[in-house]
């Protein structure tokens, strides 16, 4: 115990076993005792166990993350703050970040997904940016067969939760992605990304500063919800669910409950406080609640803090000091205020009808002290809490054999190309996402230039922010492909980053920065460590090549159920800029008689693709090589052509290959196409039609425009736009738009 400090007599000193139950290892507990110079009391142990959890301390990933490129000419705020930000011109910065809420969503999908959205939005306005868009990335088990009931329950709940929060708070949900794969059955993924806008000079950090300044907690009151969320729920493998809901149901009290109305008030209040210059710094309360927020603010400012839990507005009586410190009650913010401004801050809290309470002070002690009505109940070194958690080396080893079982075959091996095309188009992974995005408000705030399924990336006009006649826009894409990464963590991850950049190119946008959420299994297992290491290496190489550095992100490990790990799933969000919103590209064919071409260095392969999945094939060991620089050159050429307004449409060839890309162009534009691939493919349905690889684009426009594009990048004429059907001559495919539309609406039945 620190000299001269009398701890409460009532405090029972917890044991090593208590520490292990809270998620610390024996060695970590020993280290905590060493740092404290004694055994930690209940408050201290609770706080150490959270801040030293994987979720807060990144103890298995921090060393790897340090290898990522984080600097670039557009970056105005890099990793380390609540969100990163890039310069989008005109004095504006775009803040963005993706975060996961996987385990809460697996346990309680509606609230898990809703609070995932709430959490990422707070990260955005914590740095002073007004949230302007949300995107989401979802993974569930197969929606048919034995896992159907669970998958539909999780899907329906997560989608409703995302909509509930985003719609109610007035931030549009402008895009996202969704895949169904067996390995996610017991551990679904719910990742949410948010973007915000701020004047660059008004971005605010979270470092506490100025001993004597007041720490104000504002927003919702504090209850017993979400206690242990970061350590017990987010940093351990999920136990298998039994028929009655079993152990996952037991975890339900660790999931928080969201209130978008409270957050809407909190958002407006926070931005007005910043606008009036009343705050020194601002931080949201997320995982590990007050513990994490206060400790991180103190650590960043290299100061100390005293927090008095008796000053915290409580939702229920009789909460213990440790419960107040670790509660993950939603919709709360912490700020540092100069004493002279405290009254003005409280007045604004009153205006927005949120609780505001001065709960502590900044000190020069570099210690985090917890008081209960003035009585000291916890006393820790800030450095020990935030920086001294041991970091662990990974022990990667490529597995001897494939970890994942092959998917069930749902398409006969002798299916015709037309049958394969319709099967792919109606498959849960490729069918229209309309049943999801129709449940989201995509247009509030009047910026949305390209709505979901109108283009490969969402496009958001900047003009609404500036009030000026600005023409520029932000484009954003989110992507991930666990199956490809499982087959080849290095190349699969590069392909994911490239796909984001290709999506941006199709609307005419230049990548400015990247965010990532690394969703992986248990990193203490060598093969998971190998997946993680290789994937981060790919992410690093791809972001360097594209000059789209990582400005922030999140890591979600231990995504395993009793049936094994999830597919390794790096989810990539990329933000870009285009100079003229009026020329933002579209994916749908636009004019009868336009010529159609395949642009780019496209070398398709069926390996780990959607057709291989429908055929029930096992994952291959590795993906074919591709030329990253050639793909980037193609992206630049397509981007420039779109910016010039030369193309009628541009669409990245992704899952399902060329044939699916053509079908999507037809459906989005309500126009048919006549395609001639020349000599028949060797073994239809072959890789030419359904193979996947980075670097291919389906573009349409005048012959002259396509010829001009061909001067910069390989362009192969495919046919012409027109009619009411998709005809692919060599493969004997003739399918009407109506038949394509019916197949494409395959997802609808999951919501009825």
């Amino acid at each position: 115990m620190s000299a001269g400090v009398t701890m409460s007599e009532a405090t029972t000193v917890p044991t090593l076993e208590d520490a292990v139950a809270l998620g610390l290892t024996r060695e970590e507990y020993g280290l905590v005792c060493e740092k404290q110079g004694r055994a930690p009391n209940q408050v201290e142990l609770a706080m150490f166990s959270l801040l030293w959890s994987e979720h807060c301390a990144y103890k298995h990933s921090k060393k790897l993350l340090r290898t990522l490129p984080t600097e670039g000419r557009h970056v105005v705020m890099g990793p380390g703050e609540n969100a990163g930000a890039v310069d989008v011109g005109g004095g504006w910065a775009c803040a963005f970040k993706v975060e996961s809420h996987n385990h809460p969503s697996a346990v309680e999908p509606f609230q898990g997904a809703a609070t995932g959205v709430g959490g990422i939005l707070r990260d955005i306005f914590a740095i002073g940016a007004r949230p302007i868009a949300v995107l989401d990335s979802l993974r569930f088990g197969e929606p048919h067969g034995a896992s159907a009931a669970r998958t539909r329950y999780l899907l329906d709940g997560a989608v409703a939760g995302i909509g509930h929060y985003g719609n109610s708070i007035g931030v549009p949900t402008v895009g996202g992605e969704l895949y169904f794969e067996g390995p996610y059955e017991h551990n679904c993924l719910v990742n949410a990304m948010a973007l915000g806008l701020a004047r660059t000079e008004r971005l605010v950090g979270s470092a506490a500063a100025g001993p004597g300044n007041v720490i104000v907690l504002f927003g919702a009151s504090t209850g017993r919800d979400g206690i242990g969320g970061a350590s017990v729920l987010a940093s351990a493998e999920l136990a298998q669910d039994d028929q009655q809901g079993g152990s996952a149901a037991d975890m339900r009290p660790t999931v928080q409950v969201g209130d978008p109305f409270e957050e809407k008030k909190l958002l407006e209040c926070s931005l007005e406080l910043l606008e009036l210059g009343l705050l020194v710094s601002l931080q949201d309360l997320g995982a590990a609640g007050l513990t994490s927020s206060a400790a991180e603010m103190a650590s960043k400012g290299e100061v100390g803090v005293d927090i008095d839990v008796a000053m915290v507005p409580l939702r229920e009586p009789g909460m213990e000091p440790f419960e107040v410190m670790v509660s993950e009650s939603q919709e709360r913010m912490l700020c540092v205020v100069e004493p002279a401004n405290v009254d003005a801050v409280m007045a604004l809290c009153e205006k927005w009808e949120v609780n505001g309470a001065a709960i502590g002070t900044v000190t020069d002690s570099q210690r985090m002290r917890v008081l209960d009505a003035g009585e000291l109940v916890g006393d820790m070194s800030v450095r020990a809490l935030v920086d001294d958690c041991p970091l662990y080396d990974l022990h990667p080893a490529k597995p001897e054999q494939q970890v994942y079982a092959p998917p069930p075959a749902t398409l006969a091996a002798d299916a015709t190309p037309a049958q394969a095309l319709l099967a792919l188009l109606s498959s849960p992974n490729l069918s229209s996402r309309r049943p999801l995005f129709e449940q989201y408000d995509a247009i509030v705030q009047s910026r949305t230039v390209r709505r979901p399924e109108q283009a490969d990336a969402a496009v958001l006009a900047l003009s609404a922010a500036s009030g000026e006649d600005a023409r520029g826009a932000i484009a954003v894409s989110i992507d991930g492909n666990g199956r490809r990464v499982a087959a080849d963590p290095y190349r699969g991850t590069i392909a994911t980053v490239l796909e984001c950049a290709s999506n941006l190119a199709c609307v005419g946008a230049e990548p400015l920065g990247t965010t990532n959420n690394l969703n992986f299994g248990n990193p203490e297992k060598p093969h998971i460590a190998w997946q993680l290491t290789e994937s981060v290496r790919g992410l690093s190489d791809a972001c360097r090549a594209l000059e789209a550095p990582i400005v922030g992100g999140n890591v979600s490990l231990y995504n395993e159920g009793a049936t094994g790990p999830i597919y390794p799933t790096p989810v990539i969000g990329m933000v870009g800029h285009l100079p003229d919103a009026g020329r933002a590209g579209r994916l749908g064919f636009a004019n009868e008689g336009d010529e159609i071409a395949l642009a780019g260095p496209f070398a398709p392969s069926l390996a780990a693709g959607e057709l291989a999945k429908l055929r029930g094939e096992p994952l291959p060991d590795g993906l074919p090589a591709f030329d990253l620089d050639a793909v980037r050159a193609a992206q630049l050429a397509v981007r420039d052509a779109v910016r010039q307004g030369a193309l009628s449409s541009a669409h990245d060839i992704a899952e399902g290959g060329l044939a699916i890309a053509l079908a999507e162009c037809c459906l989005a534009g309500a126009l048919g196409a006549e395609i001639d691939l020349g000599s028949p493919a060797a073994a239809p349905p072959g890789s030419e039609l359904f193979g996947e690889a980075p670097g291919g684009f389906v573009v349409s426009g005048t012959a002259e425009a396509l010829r001009a594009l061909g001067e910069r990048v390989p362009v192969r004429a495919l046919g012409t736009v027109g009619g009411d059907r998709l005809k692919i001559a060599a493969a004997a495919i003739t399918i009407t738009l109506a038949e394509l539309a019916v197949a494409h609406s395959g997802l609808q039945e999951l919501f009825s």
């Binding site: 109610s168 007035g170 927005w352 408000d441 009047s446």
Partner: protein, 225 residues
């Protein structure tokens, strides 16, 4: 000509409405706790989730101080436009007949919808023709318009059933495909779709919604002249 746009805690589309109104005139926000309508010639009650709408959509907002003034303003013949949540608020305040129930599909639904103008002219459709089609986005979970048969007959006779969903567009299950109604006097109009989100083809899919704001400007200026 000046629009006043109400702002409740939980309003989401008030800035959109403000910007739409500014395309045709002046516009200013009016805080829910204020009774002063700041000399506005027309009021817009915007979309969103006033006070969270955890009770019944619009049920709390109707009791706000600002709404007290809006009710008096409407009873004096002032122009009031209610959009989405604003429509719900006006029904709760009994400035408009009927009620908005949960969508037939039980889900929040966002769609660009085609609407048909059934009664052209008046303060909100001055420049429209009967049968004219408008393309305007709708987005709501509680948009199924309902009124009892007697009320509907009376409204029909009085020309209050102003706007309906075009055939095949009524996703929420509104009775008689009703998308928007006005009061008997014709100075209060509410609709579920969002005309303030259809004022610029770049972001709105059309600029058809601007016609309503333009018509309100003409009516307000006519009233003042």
């Amino acid at each position: 000509m000046k629009f006043g746009v109400l702002q409740f805690p939980g309003s989401c589309d008030e800035i959109d409405a403000l910007q739409a109104a500014r395309r045709v005139g002046d516009a200013e926000l009016i805080w829910h706790g204020d009774r002063d309508l700041k000399g506005a010639d027309a009021i817009v009650v915007p979309g969103g989730f006033s006070y969270g709408d955890y009770l019944r959509a619009g049920a709390i907002a109707r009791f706000s101080p600002a709404m007290g003034s809006v009710i008096a303003f409407a009873n004096d013949g002032g122009l009031v436009l209610g959009i989405c949540n604003g429509f719900q608020v006006l029904c709760e305040a009994h400035l408009l007949p009927g009620a908005l129930l949960g969508n037939a599909n039980l889900r929040f639904t966002f769609r660009q919808v085609e609407l048909e103008v059934l009664y052209a002219g008046g303060s909100f459709f001055a420049s429209s023709q009967i049968g004219e089609r408008l393309s305007i986005p709708a987005k709501h979970a509680w948009g199924r318009y309902y009124a009892d048969p007697q009320t509907l007959s009376a409204m029909d006779r009085a020309g209050q059933l102003v706007l309906r969903y075009a055939p095949g567009q009524n996703f929420n299950g509104s009775v008689h495909d009703i998308a928007g109604v006005c009061n008997e006097r014709g100075n209060v109009f509410g609709l579920m779709p969002h005309p303030e989100h259809a004022v610029d083809v770049l972001t709105g899919g059309s600029a058809d919604g601007l016609k309503i704001f333009e018509s309100m400007r003409l009516a307000a200026e006519g009233a003042r002249a």
